[in-house]
């Protein structure tokens, strides 16, 4: 097990630095999914590298100057409408389309998200909660839209023992 993890050590180092991994990314991630020790190492190295980068950035004299510029810039932007504390929030309402347009729009967004997330690789399954979270359609049209995608043979989704969809992959 030790040697097996050793193999991924350099890939973890390079992953955090944004360098070439020297191995298929999927292989590294498959290992990370099952190895808590390597996950901890990834988090640890990521933190260490972020400390190094932050310290180096703030040693430069321009860092404070840049932040001052940023403050001036955002403070000079037009002020938003003031709302008194305690007043109810009025949110803009979404225009509800007819059912088929709604489903088609939802399917389009879900497909777009899934394709991007999997990088066009149908082997990678996207967890349904992630799709739910990252697409606008969280309510009714969601499963209908998934159904539309499946009918159009653009997507597959797996179900758990309760017959609830868990993951989707996109062709």
């Amino acid at each position: 097990m030790k040697n097996k993890c050793e193999k991924y050590g350099m890939a973890i180092t390079n992953y955090v630095l944004g360098e070439d991994l020297r191995m298929p990314a999927e292989e590294l991630f498959a290992h990370l999914r099952v190895c808590q020790k390597c996950r901890d190492e990834l988090v640890d190295w990521r933190e260490t590298y972020a400390v190094m980068r932050t310290e180096a950035y703030y040693k430069k004299p321009k860092a404070q100057k840049k932040f001052q510029e940023l403050l001036e810039k955002i403070k000079n932007l037009p002020a938003p409408t003031l709302r008194q504390a305690g007043q109810p929030v009025t949110r803009p309402t979404r225009t509800v389309l007819d059912a088929s347009s709604e489903i088609n729009s939802a399917a389009k967004d879900i497909y777009k998200f899934g394709k991007g997330y999997t990088g066009g690789n149908p082997e990678i399954k996207v967890p349904i909660p992630v799709i739910r979270k990252k697409t606008y359609y969280k309510g009714y049209p969601f499963y209908e839209a998934m159904g539309t995608l499946v009918r159009d043979k653009k997507a597959n989704y797996t179900k758990d023992k309760d017959n609830q969809p868990t993951h989707a992959s996109f062709k």
Binding site: L42, V43, R53, Y58, L70, G119
Partner: protein, 218 residues
Amino acid sequence: MCIGTGLGGHAKGRSAYGGELNKRQLMPDDLRSDEDLILADRAGETNALDILFRRYDKQTHFYLLNESLIKKDDAFLEDIKQEIFLKVLTKLRAGAFKPAGDGSFRAWFYTIAQNICQNYNYWRIRGPKNIYGLALDLIPAKSVLSPQEEEEKAAEIKAKLSQVLAELSPEETALMQMLGDGMTYKQIQGHPEFAKHSIDYLGLKVYNIRKKIRRIKR
């Protein structure tokens, strides 16, 4: 959240900004809590938000480096940082945060930072060739630490890092400094000191340094 920046504890007037800034941090204005500063801003004090945002500057930078997928591009990081502060300012001005009833400003601030950071991670730099998106669900989001916890953890990491740096050879120290400046292996190779080394060699060198850091941390 911002482990290791050494910036915890600002809300009580303690700071690890270091050097000259420490003096300013200890001025009476800075002893006020985040929530008090927001109330002061609402009462018409022009400087209150400046003080508040300055507290979160370095922490936000560290947070983005740690959580976002942008590791090398400082200009891009500054853009995202600006977006975060702008959003916080907009929401504060719109009265979205209630100092008395909405919990701590710190947690509220990081929720906004996290949302914007995730937005970038998922939507803006994700593409067919971007491998990073695949690993995002592997690492759970961390909980917001209290300023005291942050300070303790930061001091620990910093002490261990300085211990490691003292053990490194001059070549290794130079390599770490270049990495800290956000240079890639290819850029490091362009430096006369490392021109004779291959990228694989540099990778191995960094890996060995990482192992040293890990050993000392344990």
